[in-house]
Structure formats: C-alpha cells, structure tokens
C-alpha cells in the first residue's frame, strides 16, 4: 500500500492568514504556492506570514508542503522552512543534483530551526523532458524523497505540445508512465492526474472528475495536485479502492485462505483464478482501504 495517504494536494496561493476555503477543504495535503513573483519586496513581506500559515493548516489536519521555485530555490527555502512543515515540492526538477542541493540546505535549516533532523520530505515535480529522462536518477538521489509528481502543465509547455489541442489519447501517457515506473522502482509513490483535466484544470462536473480520478488511480497515481477546492472530495474518495473493490477483496481473502487449508494454491472465484499474487493484492488493497479510513478519521477529528 502507498507509504503516505496523500490523495488530494490542494494548491493554495500564499497569503496570511490562509483563506477559510483552504482550511475547510479537507485535503490530505496543502501545497503553499509562493506564486510567480520572486521580487525581494514580496519575499520580505512574506517572511512573518509563513510560520503561522503553516501552523494553521497543520492544525486543520492537512500535511503542509511548500512549492519551491527553481529560479529562487535558496531564498524560497530560507523563507518557508519552519516547524510544522512536512516537506517541500521542488518545482521542475531537471537533475539529481538539484535534489541533493536542496536536501543539504534542508539539513541546515532543520538544525537551525528546531526541526527533527532528516524529517523534511521532498516531492520532486517533473515538469520537463530532461527531468523525465532523468527521473530514475532523480528518484534515487535522496532518502528525503517521498514522491515524484507529474507536472503536467509544465511538461506540456516544455515539450511544446500544442496548447488547446484536443487529442483522443493523452500525449503525455508514456512520459507519465515513465515517471510513475521510475518512482516505484525507487520505492516512491507518484502523483498525477489524467488527461485532459490534467492540463485544462477545468472546473469539471462531478462525474467527469470522478472518472478522471479513477483513471489516474488505475494508472498507478496515488494522488493529484488539486487546483480547486472542488477537486478535493472527489480525489479523497477516488484515490483509494472503492467499496465494491474492497468487498471483492474480502471474498478473495476468504476463498484463498479456505483453499490453503485444503492444500490448494489456486482457486476459482467468479470466473477468475485466485492464486498467490491475487491474494497478496487483496491484502494490500484491504490495508490501503483501512489506512485511508484512518486518515479520514484523523482529519475529521482535527476539523472538529
């Protein structure tokens, strides 16, 4: 089962205090977005706002990440790394060196700011062709890494795919597959959405969004960055095994364990053969379902 239950990662533009809708949204993660402005003035004015914002979101039950921009990485880290932060999202990572440099800076900040050593995590957002080609090395470059995120809008622009194009299949499906496989190969999980919502970020209706989330989940993503609060609930419900699936897996477990007692390693169930791999999967999915239920309970308690 995924190491972290992070089904919905709500992007919130930096402000102080954090808006109500962000705190009430019920997302597993809040990603503070410092926005495109990197001027010194903006930096200075934000200094005093970050720490309380982090605390507020953590109290609301969400894990806190800050999105660090490559052009101002050092400054962004100085500004935003405070106790209460779970980790950072490194935007548009191209090389493993960027990760190791950020990791070193995190170590220093942990030391100086009373954060437990090595606790801050890194989510590497792959938003370029070079990043995708390097994604396996990136995924292996630091023990702080928890996930690779497929930065679809950045990838779209970097690869110069025609904006506004309507294709019947996701042109990024192979690259996203590569990011996903390389994340797993390194023991990480991966975040991403399915086409075309992955790039239009539209306010889709519930049915469309549900389908899109299920598709992303069935491809292997464990969560998605939510550009709207309206995505959060559907991501929380979608990036996990469904009730029907869990019911089936309960049957699988029962039937297989019964078969084992009778000395069989392979038993039929509803036209399919249940053998060791299917049984293992049932166990994994059942655990995953339970972990999601626990996370939901946690957040519910924090909110009330």
């Amino acid at each position: 089962m995924p190491k972290y239950i992070r089904r919905s990662l709500l992007t919130v533009p930096m402000s102080s205090p954090l808006p109500e809708w962000a705190l009430k949204a019920g997302s597993d993660v809040v990603i503070l977005d410092l926005g495109p402005d990197t001027t010194q003035e903006r930096q200075n004015s934000s200094q005093s706002q970050i720490a309380p914002a982090i605390r507020a979101a953590a109290e609301a039950g969400a894990e806190m990440f800050v999105r660090i921009r490559p052009e101002s990485a050092w400054a962004d880290l100085e500004l935003t790394v405070w106790p209460g932060l779970t980790g950072i999202v490194l935007a548009r990572v191209q090389s493993p060196e960027e990760v190791t440099e950020a990791s070193q800076q995190l170590t220093k900040l942990e030391q100086h700011r009373g954060i437990p050593k090595g606790s801050l995590q890194i989510d590497a957002e792959i938003g370029s062709a070079m990043g995708a080609l390097n994604s396996l090395d990136i995924a292996r470059s630091s023990p702080r890494l928890c996930a690779l995120t497929a930065g679809e809008t950045s990838l779209y622009q970097n690869l110069q795919l025609a904006p506004e194009a309507a294709l019947d299949q996701d042109p990024l499906r192979f690259i996203k597959g590569q990011i996903l496989v390389n994340a797993r190969a390194a023991g990480l999980q991966a975040q991403g959405m399915s086409y075309p919502l992955s790039i239009t970020l539209a306010k889709a209706d519930e049915t469309q969004l549900k389908q899109a989330v299920h598709r992303a989940r069935d491809t292997g993503f464990k969560g998605a960055v939510c550009p709207h609060a309206s995505w959060v609930k559907i991501c929380n419900e979608g990036f996990r095994p469904s009730q029907d699936e869990l019911a089936y897996y309960v049957k699988v477990k029962e039937v297989f364990e019964d078969g084992l007692r009778r000395g069989l390693a392979s038993v039929p169930l509803e036209g399919r053969m249940v053998d060791v791999p299917v049984y293992r999967r049932a166990q994994v999915f059942l655990e995953w379902g339970e972990a999601c239920a626990r996370r939901d309970k946690e957040k519910w308690r924090a909110a009330s």
């Binding site: 190969a185 053998d275 299917v278």
Partner: protein, 322 residues
C-alpha cells in the same frame, strides 16, 4: 529461427491429473511450475517430481521449461536441471545480477549433468516497476536470454497497486519500454497471456483467437497461456498462412530479379516490393519452415507415444500442411 513456441502452457507439477493430460494438449512448449501454482507446503514435493515428470510431458514433442522460485533458486535448479529442460523461467527478475546468478548456476549444473553448456535458456519475467526500469540491462545480461516478455502482468499491477483490468490500457509504458529494450538487445518479444481490454477469464476460445490475431499482426511468435483451450488457436494462428507463404515466395523471386538489374523497388498487384518486403519474406519463410518442422516433430512424438501406450485419448495436434 528454429525456436517454435507458439503456445507455452503452464502445468502445475503437483497436480497429477493435469500432468498426465499435459502431453495430449498439442502445445509447442510446456512449463513445469514450481512457483505460484504450488503452495509453500508442497514445494519440496514438487521439486522431487520434476525429474520424473519431464519424460511424461515430453511425449508430445513439446519442449519443456521450468518456472523456479526467486526465493529458492539454488534448490529449484538443482532439482530441475536435467536433460530435457531447455529453459528456466525466472520470476521477479529485477536486475541484471539476478539473471547472472542463475546463469552461473546453470553452467555448473550443465557441466555436471551432461547438458551442452549454454543450452539452457533463461526467460526473465519482468514483474515490477524496478524490472521495467532495468529492462535493457536484464535483456543484455546474458546470452541465455533469448526471449523476454514485456512488463504487463499481475505482479506488476500489484507492485503498482492497481487493478489488473480497468477498461482501458493502463500499462502503455510498462509494455512498450521493455519491448523496445528487448528489440534493441536482439531479444525476441514474448506475447500473452492477455491482450488489452480482455476480461481476465481464462478459458475462452474466442479470446484465444483474438490473442492469436493480435500477436500474428504484431509479428510476435511466442505466447504464454494459462489454459489449454488456448493452445490450438495459437499454434494455428501464429504460423504463417498459405496465402502469406505464397506471397513471400513471389516477393523473393521479384526482388532477386530487381537486384540483378540494379533496381531496388517495384510495384506488383498494387503492392510495393522493396528491401523491406524482401527481408520480411525471408523471415516469414524461415518461420514457416520452422513451424512445419515442429508440427512434424510433434506428430511423430505423439504417434510413437500412442502406439507405446495404446492410449484411448487422441490429442489435438495441429499438423499444418505446407
């Protein structure tokens, strides 16, 4: 290419009913399984059965493979590598080193037991994200690796923690990256046992036909199957048709004439004949000859076994006249 394994059928070795019937199925290849179809409590017993099972299933003229356990490589190989075994299926091959370990053990067993050194192939199963990421390294890890599958399967889907069948093609990269790596490494691509969009039910003949057509179109010649019902459609469907053979002979003739005249392209019956058609025609005729030889081999083996046994059951053997 002399290797003809159009259907590669699993036989759970600890099930005497399946073992006794295996030779009647007409499969080109049979896998004696020590892995997933054998429960942990039966593994010892299964190992002890391999040596005597080889001749039982080889009666059909099929080649015999063995699928070992990743956790018991040494014990399984020692029990299984006897004359008559031509390929070891290595599950959960994650790295080139996994394959090299098996390679070294095979070499010493071959030397001990009078098998030509290097003859036993290794078929690494790509069953995890890590294996997919390493597919080129695995494909090039040993000259014993001659055929390899892509990464699609139950174990890979488990590694990624996703449903096996979700109504769309979830596995594009997982199938196609290893396929490219394999072709680049000069290794043949293995097909099956599923094609995208299938339901996972294991005993449908229609699905067998669809699988055979998809593989035939894709120029894939080998396929693992889970159920004997798929043997016949694959053995028939993966061999060239008479029409294809006739056309290939025509292409050869036309192109050789062109070459003599210093030309390189012609159009015949609305079809282009060039170096690419010529190469394909060559390969197809070689493959056709190999399939025919295999069919004759199987027919002779079965006839012999039947006369020795006076068996009442008539096996289904595809004897294509070419």
């Amino acid at each position: 290419m002399t290797r003809v394994n159009r259907s590669v059928m699993f036989v759970p070795i600890n099930n005497p009913r399946f073992v006794d019937k295996a030779w009647t199925r007409g499969s080109d290849a049979i896998i004696l399984d020590l892995e997933d179809s054998v429960p942990m409590s039966e593994k010892e017993k299964a190992r002890a059965l391999v040596r005597e099972t080889i001749p039982k299933v080889a009666r059909s003229g099929a080649v015999i493979f063995v699928r070992i356990n990743k956790e018991f490589i040494k014990a399984d190989l020692e029990a299984a590598i006897w004359p008559g075994i031509s390929r070891v299926i290595l599950p959960k091959a994650q790295t080139a080193d996994d394959v090299r370990l098996v390679d070294a053990l095979l070499t010493s067993l071959e030397k001990e037991r009078g098998i030509e050194v290097g003859a036993v192939e290794i078929f690494p199963l790509v069953e995890s994200a890590l294996a997919v990421a390493n597919s080129y390294a695995i494909a090039t890890s040993s000259p014993r690796v001659k055929v390899m599958p892509d990464g699609w399967g139950y174990d890979t889907s488990l590694d990624l923690e996703i449903e096996m069948f979700a109504g769309f093609d979830q596995y594009v990269y997982i199938r196609e990256e290893p396929t490219l790596a394999e072709i680049a490494a000069g290794v043949e691509a293995m097909g099956g046992p599923y094609i995208p969009g299938t339901t996972g039910k294991v005993d449908q003949k229609e699905e067998g036909k669809a699988l055979a057509t998809a593989l035939h179109d894709a120029h894939i010649h080998e396929s693992i199957i889970l159920h004997p019902a798929l043997v016949e459609p694959l053995v028939a469907g993966l061999a060239p048709t008479t029409k294809e053979i006739d056309w290939a002979r025509k292409v050869l003739d036309i192109y050789e004439r062109l070459q003599q005249e210093g030309e390189s392209v012609a159009e015949v019956d609305g079809k282009v004949i060039d170096i690419y058609e010529y190469r394909n025609a060559h390969e197809l005729l070689e493959w056709a000859a190999s399939c025919a030889a295999k069919d004759r081999h199987k027919a002779r083996a079965v006839a012999k076994a039947q006369s020795e046994q006076g068996s009442a059951s008539s096996p289904s053997v595809n004897s294509k006249q070419t």
